[in-house]
Amino acid sequence: MTALTIPADSFHTFRVSTPSLVGSPIKIFYPEETKSFSYDEKHIPRDISDLELSLVQIFFECSVSDWDGYGAKPISKDALYEALDFISMIPKSFQLPEIVPEPNGEIGFEWNFGENRILVASVKGTGIVAYAGILGNEELRIRGTEILDNTLFQIFKSIINRIS
């Protein structure tokens, strides 16, 4: 288990899809003392709420400079909000990705089905998603950038159907 400490006097507003709060912004406020909760590293997101929780936890961990020990840029709120948008657009038929912070301040999503079967995509708050993948054979690779919209997930659907 990894304890994640949230700085005192910090608050963030999120939009999450937790059924009781669909569409409503949530303000999480930690007024006076440092709060901490445990993040189970073995936890694999089972549903969208889990995925959003993972995202928030990683955001707190990586919203400071040099979070990776090599000078990584902090993840911005713009990237966080775009990642929430990305998550809300993932088709229900998709296996849920894992959230992977990137040292340039982007939030990555990884679909990994085994050796040479992987798709990764990332957002940074600009509306453009960058992605790359291996399609079953190291020689068969794909990469590109697309606007974050449903067309992107049509592309991802064809990739994931091929590698899953």
């Binding site: 990555g108 990332s122 960058a130 790359a132 291996i134």
Partner: protein, 162 residues
């Protein structure tokens, strides 16, 4: 306190001696380590690191994308971990937010040059330090290469990690 500093001196001495032995040339079969400090770059159930562990950081001074690595050929396992501890402690002395080493990704130089990247020594911080260079500037191209590097690397977890 003397014990504390002597451990660091030992790590540096090992580095200098190794450097003399390998005479600055990097061989294709040479092993390297990429130390990992983010738990989001590892997966407990996998022998491979996540692709993001290899993504480069942009160096404002050199104006290049670089992935910091260490030459570990001929080092014992304990010496490899000691370098990781040295990197962790050196970094934590300068920064308010503390990090801890989760493990390291071991890989071969031949799997770097296979993808048109290369490694150059950069010994200002440590005699065995080097950088993976030659990264493209496009986000998606960097991801592709990071995926390829990660898939050939072996993840070694620090034993205190649960």
């Amino acid at each position: 306190m003397i014990t504390h500093y002597s451990k660091y001196l030992k790590v540096l001495l090992i580095g200098y001696l190794n450097n003399l032995l390998i005479k600055f040339r990097i061989f294709k079969s040479e092993r390297f380590a990429r130390y990992i400090f983010s738990s989001s770059h590892i997966k407990q159930t996998s022998i491979r690191p996540k692709y993001a562990a290899f993504l480069p950081n942009y160096n404002e001074k050199s104006k290049k994308f670089e992935t910091s690595v260490f030459r570990i050929n001929s080092l014992t396992e304990s010496a490899i971990w000691e370098i990781g501890d040295y990197v962790e402690n050196s970094r934590n002395k300068k920064a308010a937010n503390k990090i801890s080493m989760k493990g390291y990704a071991r890989f071969l130089y031949k799997n770097v040059i296979k993808y048109q990247l290369y490694i150059t020594q950069e010994t200002s911080s440590h005699p065995l330090h080097a950088n993976i260079l030659g990264w493209p500037t496009e986000r998606e191209a960097q991801k592709e290469l990071a995926i390829l590097l990660a898939k050939t690397a072996i993840l070694k977890m620090k034993k205190t990690q649960i």
